[in-house]
């Protein structure tokens, strides 16, 4: 199967990239890898686990869950307590296996909540999970023994009982632990999609009644998917606890659940690797844009809404939509249309970013005493000119893009029609 080989190359390439990337940012003055890059890459690893495990629900089973962070956070809290116990010598488990323990703790919680939530599906499922998420987040603030209240619980990861004699003091060691577990979890989730359970999850998503007629219990399928996705999220949470050595209620609150959804959806829920793309992109945005701008959530929100309206199959779906064209060797014909769409698109984005930043510096920035700077030049947010330029770029770019998009659509449809006529087979058109 050529598809399988192509995919395994992707896996190997991803591992190699993850292992080598920190060394590209090696700082010879300090003799270490850049701390910022390491922590960002580590964060990416955890978020990849979170997004992939979330996609076991949203993409593979059609379940819209709003409490996924509950299991991530549970893994984190459990990990902190395990680490503390191991530090006291009460828990003789090597560090490398600890994340699995954290995952099992989450699995236990996911079994309990899954029993309640998976009685329902669709909208009701979303509501119950919303309730569960809020319940756990409120409980985390109230009960001090396990959750530590608002201050959270902290731990020390240098417990010196590694299988390989590592101390886990330097962050590069922690990073490789994250890489290892991310790939173990991702591989496990990938093979789960090939099992009868994964297939039945797809079946209950696509045609609920037919799956029932075939003699499977859709509720059992939902329950198993829910519990297993909790297990993997818990592993991610365990890695979170190791990295930051403190877990607060942020790790199980609603914003993180929303993040899991955003990452999985923007990346693409229809392809296994989609959430990975989403996790990488959102983490980059989060650590890059949030340094420069107060309003990165606006950009993520708008991006998300645009994806929901125009590209429900996400980034991965968009890329895969080109497959038939690439196979026919006609990708070259799309270059010019792409450039023609890109220019007004860029203009539109610039205008939008300009307006958002101007507005936000007018209120939030002013309250924080910051001023808007572009290439070192200060911009007066009360002057008319910057507003006018941004508005013109937004409106002009929008109108231009609308025209170019119609042209692009014509070229695309023409190509697709050619391909269809050429091999006579049904080609899956981009939704």
């Amino acid at each position: 199967m050529t598809g399988m080989i192509g995919k395994s190359w992707l896996w190997v390439a991803a591992v190699a990239l993850a292992v080598l990337l920190p060394w590209c940012f090696y700082d010879f003055h300090t003799g270490r890898q850049s701390g910022f890059v390491l922590s960002m890459l580590g964060q990416m690893g955890m978020m990849i686990i979170l997004a992939l495990s979330y996609n076991m629900l949203l993409g593979q089973s059609g379940l819209f869950s709003l409490c996924h962070a509950t299991f991530f956070g549970m893994g984190g809290y459990a990990m902190v307590h395990f680490l503390n116990a191991a530090g006291d010598g009460d828990l003789p488990v090597p560090m490398e296996l600890m994340p699995l323990l954290a995952g099992l703790a989450s699995l236990a919680l996911a079994v309990v909540f899954g029993y309640m939530a998976t009685k329902q599906r669709a909208t009701a499922f979303a509501m119950i999970t919303l309730g569960i998420g809020e319940l756990m987040a409120t409980a985390a603030l109230m009960f001090h023994h396990f959750f530590g209240g608002e201050g959270g619980v902290s731990t020390n990861r240098t417990i010196n009982n590694s299988l390989f004699g590592l101390t886990y003091g330097p962050s590069i060691q922690v990073y490789y632990l994250i890489v290892a577990w991310t790939f173990i979890a991702a591989l496990a989730m990938f093979f789960l999609t090939k099992t009868p359970l994964g297939r039945m999850a797809n079946a209950t998503r696509d045609n609920f009644e037919r799956a029932q007629f075939m003699g499977y219990d859709p509720r059992m399928v939902r329950f198993l998917q829910f519990a297993l996705s909790g297990l993997f999220a818990g592993i991610g949470g365990g890695l979170y606890a190791v990295t930051y050595e403190i877990v607060t209620f942020d790790a199980l609150a609603a914003p993180l659940s929303a993040n899991a959804l955003l990452m999985a959806y923007i990346g693409g829920t229809t392809v296994f690797g989609g959430p990975v793309l989403g996790a990488v992109l959102i983490t980059l945005l989060q650590s890059g844009v949030s340094l420069m701008s107060n309003s990165w959530l606006v950009y993520v929100g708008v991006l998300f809404i645009c994806m929901v309206i125009f590209a429900p199959s996400g980034i991965a779906g968009l890329i895969l939509g080109h497959r038939p064209i690439v196979r026919a060797g006609k990708l070259g014909q799309l270059v010019v249309p792409y450039i023609r769409v890109l220019i007004p698109g860029l203009l539109l984005v610039l205008g939008f970013v300009g307006l958002v930043e101007l507005t936000s510096f007018l209120t939030i920035g002013a309250a924080q005493g910051k001023t808007l700077k572009l290439n070192g030049n200060e911009i007066d947010v009360h002057a008319t000119m910057p507003w006018l330029i941004s508005a013109v770029a937004l409106i002009g770019g929008g109108a231009w893009l609308w025209l170019e998009a119609r042209y692009f659509r014509r070229v695309w449809d023409g190509l697709m029609a050619d391909l269809k006529a050429a091999d006579g087979k049904a080609v899956r058109v981009l939704a």
Partner: protein, 315 residues
């Protein structure tokens, strides 16, 4: 005794406020099958708009203008947003309203800033209405009760006694049939969505100065409103009303109850000296876990009666 009476009144005020939000949500859900996550965000916009309008032309014009603006916003969301994603299925619609929450949240912060607004009760209503066992009951709360009761009556009359209401009810249960009879069902959808947003906006106007007008108010209100809708039974207005009042009462009474689980067995002579997670659960007073009760109640309800109090179909 006075605590019970005062809490009863406060619970009623809060419950009616909840109902104003929840009724729109329920109507929208039963008609379009869409659970509008952005409903509480519209509530927040209503409060902020009312603040801005009342600064220029006073509170009472704002009471009319802000909800209408919210209704128009709702109509826009329905026509340009929801209708477009409708073809991609229910999950896409849910996701769309979910994305709106982020944008509205940050949009409000960008326009009005992060700090709470000085949106106050109008002076004309700022006096104690009556005194009950030495505790004042503010006139503004009475005014809130009046507005919400008026809205309840208005919605009921509109739905049950007018031709428009008849068509809405028909489109609610039999959209295809109503459409075949020549009624413009998509337009009815828009009207219902806009109407729900109008009610949310109205709730924002009178709730904004009852609570505080700040960027976190949507996040604080949103989950509770969903709990109300699910608890009362999706799609049932009467159930929604009962659930709103119950939740309002639970929230206000929880604050004043200083007992914990262990107090139930205290007469038996059992006392706790250990200090761990289990004893913490047993000894925590109800007043501290008040915020947790609605969610626990909702989960229990869904476990034992998935259709909610008066729901007609399984959720």
């Amino acid at each position: 005794m006075e605590i019970v009476l005062i809490s009863l009144l406060n619970g009623l005020v809060y419950g009616m406020l909840l109902f104003m939000l929840a009724s729109g949500l329920t109507l929208i859900f039963s008609m379009m099958g869409v659970l509008n996550f952005a409903h509480a965000s519209i509530y927040m916009i209503g409060a902020y708009l009312a603040f801005t309008v009342s600064r220029f032309i006073g509170f009472f014009p704002a009471l009319i203008i802000a909800p209408i603006l919210c209704g128009l916003l709702g109509a826009g969301i329905e026509v340009w947003g929801l209708r477009r994603v409708h073809q991609n299925g229910h999950i896409a619609e849910l996701l769309f309203t979910f994305g709106l929450v982020f944008i509205i949240q940050r949009g409000v912060q960008m326009t009005w800033g992060m700090l709470p607004m000085a949106y106050r009760v109008p002076q004309i209503l700022d006096f104690p209405l009556f005194t009950l066992f030495g505790a004042n009951f503010p006139a503004y709360r009475g005014f809130m009760l009046l507005i919400s009761a008026g809205m309840l009556l208005g919605t009921w009359l509109l739905l049950k006694k007018t031709r428009v209401g008849l068509i809405i009810q028909a489109a609610l249960t039999h959209p295809q049939m109503a459409s075949s009879l020549g009624h413009n069902v998509p337009a009815v959808f828009t009207i219902v969505f806009a109407g729900g947003c109008l009610l949310a906006g109205l709730a924002g106007v009178i709730g904004g100065n009852y609570q505080t007008t700040e960027p976190g108010m949507a996040d604080a209100m949103g989950p509770i409103v969903f709990v109300v809708v699910v608890f009362g039974g999706l799609g049932s207005l009467a159930g929604c009303f009962i659930a709103s009042i119950i939740m309002g009462m639970v929230q206000t009474f929880a604050v004043v109850i200083d007992y914990s689980l262990i107090d139930l067995v205290k007469p038996l002579g059992i006392s706790i000296t250990a200090d761990n997670l289990l004893t913490e659960i047993l000894t925590v007073p109800v007043s501290r876990i008040g915020a947790l009760l609605p969610f626990a109640m909702m989960i229990l309800m869904l476990l034992f009666r998935p259709r909610g109090l008066l729901g007609t179909r399984d959720t």
